[in-house]
């Protein structure tokens, strides 16, 4: 598998290969940008459909100078994170409960599995009816969406903790909270983090839709508002912001994995 890494050419030019490795993921986006700019300048792509990259950059600068951009970003991020904390927190707690206590599984799991099959976005009409287009509506939708991945992966993680380790822990006199702290939680953590990472992606998707449909602030609102005035450059700024924020959330999740799972050879950073 690592044949190419050991080839003599690579050994002779290690610095160049590191550089190439760093640059490689950016080749395709850069090419796309160049083609895009060229098509806009040549008039093939009318700015009514898609503005040129240069127009996007200048409207980004203008929006951030006026402070409008950061206000929307702050509002959206706050919504996303508070929904994530509420939904993820409840998912984690219920997952721990149903996986650890048999009665809780019997009582709750069937219900949760049924509700899970309803797409959170299908609830939008009802949610608007219940909460109006307030902050609570968005919080509810995001929390509901991120709940399930965290819940399911927590449940699965606890159920798949190595039986041998549990048995070993018991022969060392561990039970109750110490057994939980030393063996069950760390054993379930890789799976829980998969759920967290998945949730962070879902969090933005749900928020985008919720903000697009009904909001008075936020990136989704900014984008929809721009549509009214055919400001395609601002629309593209909004869309790109989601991409960047999504990537940041993913990096955060990856960072958590690297730190919490540093004992696991699969997550150890190559030096």
């Amino acid at each position: 598998m690592n044949q190419s890494e050991e080839s003599p050419a690579k050994k002779n030019q290690p610095r160049l290969s590191i550089l190439a490795k760093q640059a490689l993921p950016w080749v395709v986006p850069t090419l796309l940008l160049i083609v895009w700019q060229w098509a806009s300048s040549a008039g093939i792509l009318p700015s009514r459909f898609l503005p040129s990259p240069r127009a996007v950059v200048s409207s980004f600068i203008a929006l951030s100078r006026s402070g409008e951009l950061w206000m929307h970003v702050r509002v959206s991020t706050l919504r996303a994170l508070s929904g994530f904390v509420v939904g993820g927190g409840v998912g984690l707690l219920l997952g721990l409960l149903t996986a650890s206590m048999h009665w809780a599984e019997i009582l709750l799991d069937t219900t949760i599995q049924m509700v899970r099959n309803i797409p959170p976005l299908a609830l939008i009409p009802l949610v608007i009816l219940w909460f109006g287009i307030d902050e609570s509506a968005k919080l509810f939708l995001v929390a509901l969406g991120v709940f399930f991945p965290v819940y399911i992966n927590t449940f699965h993680g606890i159920r798949s903790v190595d039986r041998g380790l549990l048995e070993m822990g018991r022969t060392y006199g561990l039970s109750g909270w110490p057994l939980y702290r030393e063996i069950i939680l760390p054993g379930a953590l890789p799976s829980i983090l998969v759920g967290v990472r998945f949730s962070l992606g879902l969090m933005w998707v749900i928020l985008i839709v919720a903000e697009t449909i009904s909001a008075r602030s936020g990136i989704g609102y900014m984008t929809m508002n721009a549509r009214e005035f055919m400001q395609t450059d601002i629309m593209v700024v909004g869309i790109l912001l989601y991409a960047i924020l999504g990537k940041l959330a993913d990096l955060l999740a990856k960072g958590l994995e690297r730190y919490w799972l540093r004992w696991n050879p699969a997550y150890q950073t190559a030096r």
């Binding site: 070993m168 022969t171 060392y172 561990l174 030393e182 760390p186 799972l261 004992w263």
Partner: protein, 263 residues
């Protein structure tokens, strides 16, 4: 002064001898889903004795060990461990499994410290040094070799100063050289500390080289109970060793000894 020293020595020797605890297993029967694993099984193990239990796969030798530590509950019969002076008379029993069962998310020293007060760190370090891994205290288990991991598992058991050490094929997955090293290590600590040891193994040579007594389980019962009368340290090459190993192995494989056939 010399008198005092010698009385201390005697006390130390006495302490060593009293570390081990006797094990009395009486008419134990265990069945899993209708399949009888142990039937009316009984053995007596005296304090400080090293007993090896051999037998074919699935003969119930691991089940026996697991029921001694309470991981299985026999349907009938009793398992009685002798009393000890410390821990309110309750003997300390530790298990070494076939796989090391180290916690992958704890570094080596915290693994050895499992279930111990933080105040006992110096003792854990000392035991880790005894198994030759003092300098690996801050490493992750994933970076150790299989043999090293088993040595950590041994240290984890020894740090509790057990009265009874149960060894469930602990060397089964190690290479031949590491096995011999580990056998010597186990024999050394057993001789130094005087705990009672029960070793389950597939390897008859291992049983003969370590144990005072080799017990063969077959069909859920004791099929052979052989005292190993070879002075320690034992050399595998010796004629008595080879003869005993051959006899036990022959019995395991249900082969009649060559000598008997001839006469």
């Amino acid at each position: 002064m010399p008198v005092a020293a010698s009385s201390e020595e005697i006390a130390a020797a006495d302490e060593r001898c009293s570390r081990g605890v006797s094990v009395g297993i009486k008419s134990v029967s265990i069945a899993f889903g209708g399949r009888t694993v142990l039937e009316n099984f009984g053995i007596e193990i005296s304090a400080g004795e090293f007993v090896a239990i051999v037998g074919r796969s699935g003969c119930g030798k691991s089940t026996l060990l697991r029921s001694v530590v309470g991981l299985e509950t026999p349907q009938t019969g009793t398992i009685i461990l002798g009393n000890v002076r410390e821990h309110n008379g309750k003997p300390d029993v530790r298990v070494m499994f076939q796989d090391s069962r180290l916690l992958p998310w704890r570094r080596i020293l915290p693994n050895v410290m499992l279930g111990l007060e933080p105040a006992l760190i110096p003792r854990a370090r000392k035991v880790l040094a005894q198994v030759g891994l003092a300098e690996r205290a801050n490493d992750w288990p994933a970076t150790l070799s299989g043999g090293q991991r088993q040595r950590v598992a041994l240290a984890r058991a020894l740090v509790h100063d057990p009265n009874l050490l149960l060894l469930d094929e602990p060397l089964g997955s190690l290479d031949a050289l590491t096995r011999i090293e580990m056998q010597q290590l186990i024999e050394d600590v057993w001789q130094n500390r005087g705990f009672t040891a029960m070793l389950v193994t597939h390897d008859v040579a291992e049983a003969v080289s370590l144990a005072d007594r080799v017990i063969l389980i077959e069909g859920g019962r004791v099929a052979l109970d052989e005292v190993v009368n070879i002075a320690r340290p034992r050399t595998r090459g010796s004629a008595r060793f080879a003869a005993l190993e051959e006899r036990i192995l022959g019995r395991v494989l249900q082969r009649r000894p060559v000598a008997e056939n001839r006469w």
